[in-house]
């Protein structure tokens, strides 16, 4: 779960990390008030998720409250990085001497936490050549050691007087990374100010979704961001990804569902969504999944691909039959059903007039025929 900047700021404040003074506004009038409070000059930062906000026009400088209000109105009416702007962070300008980059990210191959630092932070950090970037692996069982902090400090070419401050900052960021179960946490830019201080200007972090039970505040925020369909999917532990095509895909297991989607795409059709019902689904859960699938108005047809292992085909068949009864849909649908209890499952489908396939390629060719 990616956090908005204002959500992350609350965490950084708890750790006493130096940031520019800032206020969160949800109307243009409020923005004007805060600009005034900050002495007339401020940056307006649209609260959207993802990288590239500055380049997309989501960060604007204003030099008086009136223009602050005007620019805020523009921002509230626009879409930045494909997202509507509901909140704006109004922050005091900082005299920046140079911009640095500091990031932590889980390294799944080495089973470490990679520390990434560069003296050349800012908007083009992704284009940096390897020499301008230092990557050090941290053993999570040992943690961030002094020698790693010294190495990072040396690479950044900071004034020697900042050694302690930098070390403390790195320590706090690594603590947040662990305390909040982060997938990644990055500060970009970290500013070296003209009066030789270190200030976190902007940063981004993502909390691992599987850890949200340890962070109840963010868990409720996570749930509030889901659409109605995603919320049902979440409740039944389905994995649902919405796409822009018109053929719905339901499967059990991410790999099988993706392979189904790939075949559909190869035949020139476009998947509308990917709905993985996971393992061991009961008829109730299957019924919910099919109901979600049928509730998409743009879906012209549906492919259900089930290979029963711990999932039982009879449960799946009962769920499909129930969902069709409830919805009364006439949309074309094909079902591939194989594996545990397949005879019983196929019998249930057949006696309800639903055609089944034993092989996924045949099922997908059939939906192509039906949709033509």
């Amino acid at each position: 779960m990616l956090l908005y900047e204002y959500e992350g700021r609350r965490i950084l404040e708890l750790y006493d990390i130096t940031m520019p003074k800032g206020y969160l506004a949800s109307s243009a009038k409020e923005v004007a008030t805060y600009v005034k409070l900050l002495g007339g000059k401020a940056f307006l930062k649209a609260q959207v998720l993802g990288t590239g906000r500055g380049k997309a026009g989501g960060v604007r400088f204003v030099s008086d409250p009136e223009s602050g209000e005007k620019v805020a109105r523009e921002l509230f009416e626009s879409e930045i990085l494909g997202q509507r702007v509901d909140k704006i962070l109004v922050v005091e300008p900082i005299d920046v001497a140079s911009e640095l980059y500091v990031g932590f990210i889980v390294n799944p191959i080495k089973c470490t936490v990679s520390l990434l630092v560069s003296p050349h932070g800012g908007v083009d950090v992704e284009e940096l050549s390897k020499e301008k970037l230092l990557r050090i692996e941290i053993d999570p069982l040992i943690g961030l050691t002094s020698f790693i902090k010294r190495e990072a400090f040396k690479f950044l070419n900071l004034p020697q007087s900042l050694s302690m401050e930098f070390s403390a900052l790195l320590e706090k960021l690594y603590e947040i990374f662990n305390d909040y179960d982060c997938e990644f946490l990055e500060v970009n830019p970290l500013a070296l100010t003209k009066d030789e201080r270190l200030v976190v200007i902007d940063f981004r972090l993502s909390i691992d979704d599987n850890s949200l039970f340890r962070h109840p505040d963010f868990e409720s925020e996570y749930l509030s961001r889901l659409s109605e369909k995603e919320l049902i999917a979440h409740r039944f532990k389905f994995s649902l990804v919405e796409l822009d095509g018109d053929v719905g895909v339901i499967g059990n297991g991410a790999g099988l569902t993706m392979a189904t989607m790939d075949l559909i795409a190869e035949l020139g059709m476009k998947p509308a969504f990917f709905l993985d019902i996971g393992g061991g689904a009961s008829s109730e859960r299957v019924c919910e999944a099919v109901k979600i699938a049928l509730s998409y108005p743009n879906v012209k047809g549906l492919v259900i691909n089930i290979l029963g292992g711990i999932t039982r085909c009879d449960e799946v068949a009962r769920g499909i039959v129930e969902a069709l009864k409830v919805s009364g849909t006439k949309k074309p649908m094909v079902v591939r059903l194989s594996g545990t209890n397949e005879e019983e499952g196929r019998r249930i489908l057949e006696s309800n007039g639903i055609k089944y396939f034993t092989n996924m390629e045949e099922a997908i060719r059939e939906i192509l025929k039906l949709l033509r």
């Binding site: 191959i109 992704e126 069982l141 850890s211 790999g255 790939d262 990917f274 290979l307 292992g309």
Partner: protein, 292 residues
Amino acid sequence: MGILVNSQTRVMVQGITGRQGSFHTRLMLSYGTKVVAGVTPGKGGIEVHGVPVYDSVREALEEHPEINASIIFVPARFAKDAMLEALTNDIKLVVVITEHIPLHDELLMIRYAKLKGAVIVGPNTPGIINPSERCKVGIMPTESFREGVVGLISRSGTLAYEVASRLSKSGIGISTFVGLGGDPIVGLSMVEAVSLFSEDIHTKCLVVIGEIGGVMEERLADYLSSNPIEKPVVAFIAGKSAPKGKKMGHAGAIAYSGEGTAESKINRLRSAGVLVADTVNDIIRLVVRSIE
């Protein structure tokens, strides 16, 4: 033969009294797996399908010093403790079925396993099955897996069952199937699994089923480029048509630029000499051709 598990494997089930734990204990026993003990804190003294249950791994080991593998079914929030308990008691093979385990818990436990010289398979894995030795430490449907010469490695459970049952219909069996697990971070890596199979005399051909996300397949390609193996390796990557995954800030782009996509994996594997199948059917065709 085969890898990781065999007729000498003596299994302990952690979380044996839960719904999944108890159900799959029965299935493992009926397949032929030697399940000798179960652990559920607070439930010591009872039996599950004839298997004695203990309060702790230490107590189970005292009664059954022959235990050399553990399979974990405990809920995600307790899984770290269960893994830690198995590893601390020097169990060298720990198969973690549990899904949705917090990332940092996985990171710490997998790292700890490496230091202990132990192997974690998973988390979020269907487990391991070795048909010729009648040993399954996992939850996969056994009908799909017949005895044979193909070493099967997969990040996905059901897609592996699909491939195994199609191979089976073509008269081809497997030496061992190992599910690596569907999480971003897993214990036994693709490279490690391939290297185990390359040394197994019963395995004549390898099938690797990968998917988009992560860089495991790219690392396998790097490994095979510098350590070519004599056995043919067939691979398939699921998710060619999927949109790009969640972006991990600049950090993700800096640390893994250009990697993780189906295209990157397929290209890298091809240039490492791997036969990359375009479709599931194609996997079977390539395997048949390689072992003839």
